[in-house]
């Protein structure tokens, strides 16, 4: 399975490069417009109520710091919403609070700036694969 997608995206030929570039641009533009995506290349949107965790100044992926104000604003930029406040309220509204219980490893910085759809299909972002509470920590 992985091999097939690697051939498609990393074949090196003109077709591969066009396919890769198209996926890259479509993902980048849609996610930037819709979700304020920061192109980390290992997308967590489906776990965060479609809120990009990379918008947090500290880039927190596993929950809020202790600095969310009573009004839900960020400690670093008091005029902005705390990203984790948004994640919590959105997940609650979507009845998806269980997704907050997933554990995410640190960002793989070698993937930042690459399309997460390609990384997902080729299995390259498996370092960023979340795992639930209760399972053995890696």
């Amino acid at each position: 399975m992985e091999g097939r997608f690697e051939r498609i995206f990393d074949g090196g030929g003109l077709v591969s490069r066009v396919v890769y570039g198209t996926v890259f641009l479509v993902e980048k533009w849609t996610k930037e417009v819709l979700f304020g995506c920061h192109n980390c290349g290992q997308c967590l949107l489906s776990y965060t109520g479609y809120t990009c965790t990379m918008r947090c100044p500290k880039g927190l992926r596993n929950g809020p710091c202790g600095g969310t104000s009573a009004a839900g604003k960020c400690e670093v930029y008091p005029d902005r919403w705390c990203v984790w406040y948004l994640i919590y309220t959105r997940c609650k509204r979507l009845h998806r609070l269980d997704t907050l219980r997933m554990m995410h490893p640190g960002v793989d910085w070698s993937l930042v700036g690459t399309p997460s759809w390609v990384n997902l299909l080729t299995g390259r972002d498996k370092v960023a694969e979340p795992f639930g509470l209760g399972k053995e920590t890696r």
Binding site: K58, G59, L60, P64, G66, S69, V76, P105, L133, T137
Partner: protein, 288 residues
């Protein structure tokens, strides 16, 4: 006795902060430590607290250890990537440091070097995961270590956070990732703390309530405005405002808060912020 054993034996554990100086003159800090060493179980050695550049927590933890005092080495993710964090943890172990408190760290613009590059390669939870890996004998890249470190591992939680539920989920993640005890942000409302403890007591990890003795009414109002998740109620502010002897009232309030909350938790962590000389009086007032 080791920190973990103290909790196991049911002792109400007392820790205070030892703030490294800005510079290399450690005389005052060590004097404060000497003053308190027989009254407390361990000293948290802060790591560039509030993002203000100071002498390092690793070096100071080592200095305390040399003097037979138990340090809790605080390690933040603000200034080091995962290579440096792992290396510092290994260094701490070979220097004989047995307790580590894993934190994300304040953001750089809140400190005295706002133009510094914020690192945050890992965060509290992923730092705890990394530490657990090291203790199993492997680094984050999966390479085997020559000899594995062993620590008693702490983390922090803010009982006043909004919303509390996501803070508690994160606390569960920290436990899952390897945290063995918790220290909290400063608490001034025992009722709220009781409600918090009710939700987390099933987790089975010791929690130490955080206490910052109030220095003045102005300090209390400043914290209410600027420190998220900390709320000093009006009656305490009024007490501080009306008093003629601020230190005495501060000690009374801190002692009272500890007395009211010590039945709810397993220890107290006092952050005296320069008022270390009053800590013995606070402990007396608290009946500890």
């Amino acid at each position: 006795m080791k920190l973990g054993e103290l909790f196991q034996n049911g002792k109400f554990v007392i820790t205070v902060e030892a703030g490294p100086p800005k510079g290399v003159d450690v005389k005052q800090m060590l004097e404060d430590v000497e003053l308190l060493r027989d009254r407390v179980d361990a000293f948290n050695v802060t790591d560039q607290q509030s993002s203000v550049m100071k002498l390092g927590s690793l070096a100071v933890s080592h200095l305390l250890k040399e003097r037979g005092v138990e340090p809790i080495y605080q390690l933040t993710c603000r200034d080091r990537n995962r290579i440096a964090l792992q290396s510092d943890l290994l260094s701490a172990y070979v220097l004989g440091i047995e307790n580590v408190l894993c934190l994300t760290g304040d953001y750089v613009t809140l400190g005295d070097h706002p133009s510094a590059k914020p690192v945050f390669d890992l965060h509290s939870v992923t730092l705890l995961l990394t530490l657990s890996r090291l203790q199993k004998g492997y680094d984050l890249a999966g390479q085997e270590l020559k000899g594995k470190p062993e620590f008693y591992v702490g983390a922090v939680v803010n009982p006043g956070a909004n919303p509390l539920e996501s803070q508690i989920i994160k606390m569960e993640k920290k436990i899952e990732a390897g945290a063995q005890f918790f220290q909290t942000q400063a608490v001034y409302e025992p009722e709220k703390f009781a409600a918090f403890m009710k939700r987390v007591e099933g987790f089975g990890v010791p929690v130490m309530v955080g206490i910052i003795p109030l220095k003045s009414a102005g300090m209390a109002r400043f914290m209410n405005r600027n420190v998220a998740g900390v709320h000093v109620p009006d009656h305490l502010i009024a007490e501080m405002k009306e008093t003629k002897d601020r230190a005495k009232t501060s000690v009374e309030i801190a002692g009272r808060l500890i007395r009211e909350m010590k039945g709810l938790c397993q220890g107290v962590h006092i952050m005296a912020l320069g008022w270390e000389r009053y800590v013995p009086a606070v402990l007396d007032a608290a009946g500890l």
